[in-house]
């Protein structure tokens, strides 16, 4: 009896090792795995010992359709001109599955609705949006097939619509749905599961979404113009020959940044521009189109300030003489 038992044990271990291809995972046994159960018995009868096996019952594990979506931005992303929101799509089912991706910038409670520019799959899986590298998909397009327990990132590039108030909040919803199908848990799609079985909607309804948050970051510019007159007699009377120094203070406000800012002014009629008199923050500028910020002529000035962050200001001056 002991001999027979030992022999049988070895055989049964081998049989269960053959099933080892079906490794257990967080999402459960991979769809298509066969669960095979065989019992055996040994017994004495008279003086001999006998072993006998049962038939093998075999059932195939069907595919569970489940998905999870997570926003990977820990805090609201500042949105000046454009911003990138990152989401993760997890295949929490037990079979290979692709998911459709729908992006909606219209979410109840939004202070503004961002403009969706680009939706991309993190093809090289490095977590950073790289234009030209990551695969762009249309809204409603799908991810590549993800293995059970695998995940991918989705980038959503959004732009700030014009007229958005500084500090306004917005959310963007990304929804993923199993391509095989979705619906009430338990809904099954015959023969459409991985490995030839059925596909069954799991507890997540095979449809999930997450919200990414944005906060508008914009700035506006205020220009304040003032002047000082110095007449040829040491006074401040606007008489012919008096020199008028104009000062234009450009001040940006808001949490964002103003880009490509130029201060442009015309020379007042009845006055003559004093050549090379433009200053920016006290530094003299030449009139020529050269390396410095200013271009000026008898008709007017154009001073390039460029980017100006909210809360900062720049001062431009120029001189004319009264004719």
């Amino acid at each position: 009896m002991t001999n027979h038992c030992t022999k049988f044990m070895i055989a049964s271990v081998a049989a269960s090792a053959a099933l080892g291809a079906s490794q257990a995972q967080a999402a459960g046994v991979t769809a298509g795995t066969l669960i095979q159960n065989t019992a055996s018995a040994s017994y004495g009868s008279g003086s001999s010992t006998t072993t006998v096996n049962s038939n093998t019952v075999s059932i195939r594990v069907d595919e569970l359709l489940d998905v999870a979506v997570t926003s990977l931005n820990a805090a609201a992303v500042p949105l000046a001109s454009t911003a990138v929101l990152t989401y993760r799509i997890d295949n929490t089912g037990n079979g290979s599955e692709a998911f459709s991706i729908n992006v909606s910038p219209t979410v109840s409670g939004n202070g503004f609705d961002a403009t969706v520019q680009t939706i991309a799959i993190d093809s090289n899986d490095n977590g950073t949006y790289e234009p030209g590298v990551d695969t762009v998909i249309a809204n409603g397009g799908s991810t590549p097939a993800l293995a059970a327990d695998a995940s991918t990132r989705v980038f959503v590039v959004v732009a700030q619509p014009s007229g958005t108030a500084d500090g306004a909040a917005s959310q963007v919803r990304v929804t993923a749905q199993a391509l095989t199908g979705a619906g009430t848990p338990g809904t099954s799609f015959a023969g459409q599961g991985q490995g030839g079985g059925d596909a069954v909607v799991g507890a997540t309804t095979a449809n999930a979404n997450a919200l990414g948050s944005l906060i508008a970051s914009s700035a506006s510019v205020a220009l304040v113009k003032s002047y000082v007159v110095v007449d040829p007699f040491g006074g401040a009377k606007p008489v012919p020959g008096a020199v008028v120094t104009f000062t234009i203070a450009a001040t940006a406000s808001g949490s964002g940044m103003v880009n490509d800012l130029h201060v442009i002014d015309a020379i007042p009629t009845g006055t003559t521009y004093v050549a090379n008199s433009v200053t920016l923050e006290g530094a003299s500028q030449t009139d020529a189109t050269d390396g410095d910020a200013a271009i000026a002529s008898s008709s007017g000035i154009d001073v390039t300030i460029g980017a100006l962050a909210g809360g900062t200001s720049r001062s431009v001056t120029f001189k004319t003489t009264i004719n």
């Binding site: 049964s12 099933l19 055996s40 018995a41 006998t50 049962s54």
Partner: protein
């Protein structure tokens, strides 16, 4: 879901040396059912059905029916069932049956067994550690029969 029932009996007959001497008088017949909890008029009850759709988390009932077809009584009747890797034994069966957590070398009640964790330290065995289940029937009279069964959950 495709249900395959193959008979390994013929195979066993051909290869087991014991078989050459004597036709086995005991026949084993395995079966599997899907256990579902249904709610009818507010009361929950468990029903057994043929497994058509099986997904992780489902509860299965594996049963093995034995019958002594011979004319002699058999004794020391021991049924051994390796647990398929894709399932874990359900808690009710795990705590009540003679089980092994080491590939069938040693058997006992689960509460008395330990396994070594990754660091080599012993810890109490859990239901998911069970590799084999064993039932012992002292004797089966000619014509006698019975069923052994265990509940399992698809991993």
């Amino acid at each position: 879901m495709i249900r395959i029932i193959s008979t390994l009996l013929a195979f066993a007959l051909a290869t087991s040396p014991a078989m050459a001497q004597q036709t086995p008088s005991v026949v084993l017949e395995g079966d599997v059912k899907l256990e579902k909890t249904v709610e009818a008029s507010g009361a929950k009850k468990t029903v057994l059905e043929d497994p058509k759709v099986v997904v992780p988390g489902d509860k299965l009932l594996f049963s093995t029916r034995y019958a002594n077809k011979g004319s002699q009584s058999v004794d020391n009747f021991v049924v051994t069932n390796p647990v398929p890797q894709a399932v874990r034994v359900a808690d009710d069966s795990a705590s009540a049956l003679q089980v092994s957590v080491d590939g069938g070398k040693a058997y006992g009640l689960l509460a008395s067994l330990t396994v070594k964790d990754a660091a080599g330290a012993a810890r109490a065995a859990r239901a998911e550690d069970i590799t084999h289940i064993r039932w012992t029937v002292p004797a089966i009279a000619p014509g006698g029969s019975g069923t052994v069964e265990y509940h399992a959950i698809v991993r």
